[in-house]
Amino acid sequence: MTGTVPRRPRFRIQPYIEFAKKAMAREGTYRFDVFTTVGSFVVRLYLLRMVWTALYAHNAAPVDLSRHEIITYSAVALLMGIVMDIDQTRALHDKLHDGSIATDFMKPIIVPLYFFADGTGEVLFHAALLIPSILIALLIFNIIVPPPMVLAAFFVSFLLGYLVGFFLNFILNCTAFWTLEISAVQLIVTWLTDLLGGELIPLILFPAFLQQFIYALPFAAMFSTPLLIYVRQIPPARYLEVMGLQVAWIVVLGIVSTVMWRAGARRVVVQGG
């Protein structure tokens, strides 16, 4: 083939902002979600509060986390879960499955960035739905609000956790380039995230030898790190270290994502999907 050097056209951010906006508009068509989100949040938090209260009544609790703190932990974990549990890049899997990915490749866009923008729009919409749930958590369950500095650190860490989750989902959906069916793998990863990410049970309650193993996995970077910052189990002195680890996970998973995407896209262009 003739040896023209591949060159990228001028990058414009606007289309990706539009993708995110359209994803929000699309999610907005499912308005019923507002009620189910709030409803299931209240029910699950109520149940968790019952469980923790019972455990604490029998002195089965760790010393350095009060009952009120652990209920706060559960509430914040549930709130985070509402946005974190969304599979933002499901569209990639769907489009690979029905072959419509081809039309995306025929547009002058960076295709993985389109999926990122679309997924983020979806997540932002659901984040907006959090407001009533947050109010309930504050006013009815009376959860603890940490000082602004801790809160700010929590949000930064949450954002980093979101990116870890994004790349993890992206990698999973990329496997559809080869297998076309990913639900089994995805189910396992969901279980692992629930259990080993600290969404359900704070990881500090796990036996020490298990904690070593769990912290070596990316799941803790998604939930546990921001949550432990929130309940002040991670002191400010360690912020740099724990967030550094989150960033490291983003870099590693980002590289894996890139490699997977390139190989997958190559497979599409060479094999025709």
């Binding site: 083939m1 003739t2 023209t4 591949p6 060159r7 990228r8 056209p9 414009r12 606007q14 289309p15 539009e18 993708f19 359209k22 508009a25 699309r26 068509t29 072959g99 419509s100 081809a102 039309t103 490749f105 025929m106 547009k107 002058p108 866009i109 960076i110 599409v268 262009v269 060479v270 094999q271 025709g272």
Partner: protein, 336 residues
Amino acid sequence: MPIIEAIDLRKVFRRIVRQPGIGGAIGALFSREYEDKVAVDDVSFSLAEGELVGYLGPNGAGKSTTIKMLTGILVPTSGVLRVAGLVPYQRRQENAQNIGVVFGQRSQLYWDLPLRESFELLRSIYDVPLNRYQENMRHFAEILDLERFLDTPVRQLSLGERMRGDFAAAMLHDPKIVYLDEPTIGLDVVAKEAIRVFIAQINRERGTTVILTTHDLADVERLTPRIVLIDHGKVIYDGALERLRTEYGTHRVLVVTTVDPVPDDFAVPGAEVESREPYVVRLGFDRRTLTAEALIRRVLERYAISDVSIIEPDIDTIVRRIYLEGYQQNAVGAPS
């Protein structure tokens, strides 16, 4: 200089050979046997700017594979391909800016959004200046009659409405070239006609280069003098549709209505009895060896007849014959 040039374009797909059944599926995990399938086999053609060409062939002939290579989403195995001066797969994004694509079987509109919002998104993707966008929208809304359903979510549109939306979407950024892959498939007569008028208009008024693949030969007859015929990945004919008709459509039929019932041994030298009814007989003959006048004279010499008519080969019949029997070089002469 041609706007599209393909020289010895070739695409070979490699597939894993798998024995049927569970055993085969498990076996495929361990030993991989590959099988090469040549989808496009040394195809060469070129298009001048503003040309409209019908790209025809039976299912699996390699039409869609060619289109995918032209759009840059498939990398050719070998050969040279240039579209508006670019090698499509090397400069996919820039190439995308130059082309518009319509698939009859697949929409590029956003399923959950009203049509209008899909257009706005495309305006942003292709960076269409606002005044150009508004002008195009006004123009397309008028000729494609979009106004009525601009605010309807795409999933609620009828096929005809969706296709019209897809055409407008493909043309919004004034592409130099459009690829239309079976754009009239499944449409009713009225919608088909609207689409054909639109294609003719963009080709004529905007000078857009058009490659049209279709199974509906009426599309081609209506729109373009030139066709490229492909079968088993090879170009078997490239030239005027009319020439194909005159040179390949040599088989004509003389329909004879007889005065007396058609006898069992009805026969005329140089013609073949194709079907026989009590008073009507159909005689197939080759235009190259026998004129209609001569055949009619021969019939009159032998039988009493009350009426004759001639059925000329239609393009469907010609193309069907080529698909079925393969293409014979000598029947048409060397392809240009």
